[in-house]
């Protein structure tokens, strides 16, 4: 089943006309409602009334995560606050988080694209979905929730964590669809076996996994562990949350819902369009969003794209799994983490910045573990274990507050963190995906 067949299978002429139509309305809307963008567009010499076709998009300036940070919180809003119905935030590179706001129409759009996601994965109305993405400010939980509601699925909003309870609920309600991060899916399978439950038995049909990069070998592992079809979903809060692209049953690239999220692949060095099929940075324009529409947003995700029609019938462009990043962001348990966030915390605690290193590992139990090594310095060393433990605990709590991810903090001796040309190596990622 294809949720919006008329649009998802539209021929390229029709699709282009639709996109052009949206862009023609979008640019004047933004220009007249968002002073920050007006300045940006003026500076780039863009006359909003001269936008005639989606091809004109190449003349528009990029929007970056820094833009979102610099104009935090409301600077990039095109809709007035009283039309904003819901707010989410995701990690920012430093102190300020990245803010997203949804109008009523944006929430409808979100429900619609997430219904397309679930349908594309193979869900059918009446199926039960267990949503084990985190609910709250993180877009994962509520995004799936809205899509499932729109599609008419039965929802079990377990949110993330509390694995024993997740497994108990699975047994009791036999959901056919599971939504969570891929690493959590593997972790739950392990836990199930330990509790004497055979995860391959039963009711499963599909998993819709995302919010962190994962590989084909993880896919095979998950499919074998749960006896289900494991599909990949892509999205980011700045654009809408989950719901930008999704794999169909052929698992041959993620269908971008390009009628509303227009994708471009560029060479991050030159900012020029990358040749078809080549790796490049994914850039997205939200063609119909009202609250915070974004023009040519640099996702910093490296992907490649293909444009031919898929066997499933969808004509939308397909992107590969994420192959890398253009920055030093890492994704831990579905949460985006920037080393600069941790740096910010340490400066706040000790006044000056001690040497630190972030070690990410995924051990046998499949969950990401973050260890932050902090070099002990003379001025905060104390003879009393209690004080050192308090310090460790304070650092741990503050980092956890900022990242929303639990971390382990280890105090280490000075000069033990590996340095390359004087500068400490900030991230050691030991995970094999």
């Amino acid at each position: 089943m294809i949720w919006k067949e008329d649009i998802e299978c539209m021929d390229s002429t029709g699709l282009k006309a639709l996109q052009s139509d949206y862009l023609k309305k979008l640019i004047p809307y933004i220009y007249h409602n968002c002073p920050v963008y007006r300045q940006k567009l003026d500076a780039a010499g863009v006359n909003p009334d001269r936008i005639k076709s989606i091809d004109d998009i190449k003349r528009l300036p990029f929007t970056t995560k820094e833009d979102m940070r610099d104009h935090y919180p409301y600077g990039l809003f095109s809709a007035p606050q009283d039309r904003i119905n819901e707010i989410h935030v995701s990690s920012g590179t430093t102190g300020n988080p990245t803010l997203v706001g949804y109008t009523k129409d944006d929430l409808k759009l979100w429900g619609d694209v997430m219904a397309r996601v679930l349908c594309c994965a193979g869900a059918e109305p009446g199926d039960t979905i267990q949503i084990a993405y985190g609910y709250g400010l993180f877009t994962g939980g509520l995004g799936f929730h809205y899509g499932a509601l729109e599609m008419g699925l039965r929802i079990i909003p377990t949110s993330a964590g509390q694995t024993a309870r997740q497994l108990k609920i699975m047994q009791d309600f036999q959901p056919r669809i599971l939504g969570c991060t891929p690493s959590y899916a593997l972790y739950m399978a392990e836990e199930a076996k330990e509790m004497g439950i055979d995860p391959t038995q039963g009711h499963w049909k599909i998993g819709v996994f995302g919010a962190e990069p994962w590989s084909e070998s993880m896919r095979r592992e998950i499919e074998a562990a749960w006896n289900m079809l494991a599909t990949d979903v892509y999205g980011l809060s700045e654009i809408i949350g989950p719901g930008v692209a999704q794999e169909c049953r052929h698992k041959d690239g993620l269908h971008v819902f390009s009628d509303v999220f227009f994708p471009e692949i560029i060479d991050p060095q030159t900012d020029e369009e990358a040749p078809e099929g080549q790796d490049g940075e994914l850039v997205i324009t939200t063609l119909t969003k009202q609250g915070i529409p974004l023009i040519r947003y640099r996702t910093r995700d490296i992907v490649s794209a293909r444009y031919e029609k898929c066997r499933c019938g969808r004509t939308s462009p397909r992107i590969s799994k994420i192959k890398g990043r253009t920055d030093d962001m890492i994704v831990v348990r579905g949460i985006n983490v920037f080393p600069s966030q941790i740096e910010h915390v340490l400066v706040g605690i000790e006044g000056t910045q001690p040497q630190y290193q972030i070690v990410v590992d995924r051990k046998a139990h499949h969950l990401d573990e973050v260890e932050v090594l902090v070099e002990v310095e003379q001025r905060f060393f104390s003879d009393e274990i209690r004080h050192l433990n308090d310090l460790r605990e304070r650092i741990r709590k503050e980092i956890q507050n900022v990242l929303s991810v639990g971390v382990k903090v280890t105090l280490v001796e000075p000069k033990t963190i590996e340095r390359s040309v004087g500068k400490a190596k900030r991230i050691v990622d030991k995970r094999t995906l």
Binding site: V376, E377, Q378, F381, S382, D383, E384, I385, L388, N389, T410, L411, V412, E413, P414, K415, T416
Partner: protein
């Protein structure tokens, strides 16, 4: 009289204790008393040495994190119940002991113990009132 203890931060890694001891040994610093407080991932080595200032400089120069702490070295009769007698005096006088450990060697027929008190000054007064002798810095250096 207070004496000075050196505290050294140590990761729980193989050979770290050896590194400290060999460094001190090679530079003719003699360890008089020693204990290690451990946690899951790190420990704090506490030592009393004969050449305190030199030892700390040496340690810091070699990349260790080391600090001074005031402690009191107390002579305790080396007989059954000897320590208990002293501890009872502390308990009766509301003197709180943070931690304590023993010296490597004996001092005549007495045992020597290092005490870290919550309030060192009060503790010293109590010890004096009860005529319990404490060991001076000079004595430590001469041991």
């Amino acid at each position: 009289m207070k004496i000075t203890q050196i505290s050294v931060f140590l990761e729980n890694r193989k050979g770290r204790l050896y590194d400290v001891c060999s460094l001190l040994g090679a530079n003719h610093v003699n360890i008089r008393a020693l204990t290690i407080a451990e946690t899951e991932s790190f420990g704090v080595l506490r030592i009393v040495v004969d050449k305190c200032d030199a030892a700390v400089k040496l340690l810091r120069d070699n990349g260790f994190v080391a600090n001074f702490t005031d402690v009191v070295a107390v002579e305790v009769p080396d007989t059954p119940g000897g320590l208990a007698t002293v501890l009872k005096i502390f308990a009766d006088n509301d003197v709180n002991v943070e931690y304590m450990y023993g010296f490597v060697e004996k001092h005549s027929d007495k045992a020597l113990l290092v005490f870290r008190f919550e309030d060192t000054d009060t503790a010293q007064q109590v010890l004096a009132r009860h005529s319990i002798s404490i060991v001076t810095r000079q004595e430590i250096e001469g041991l």
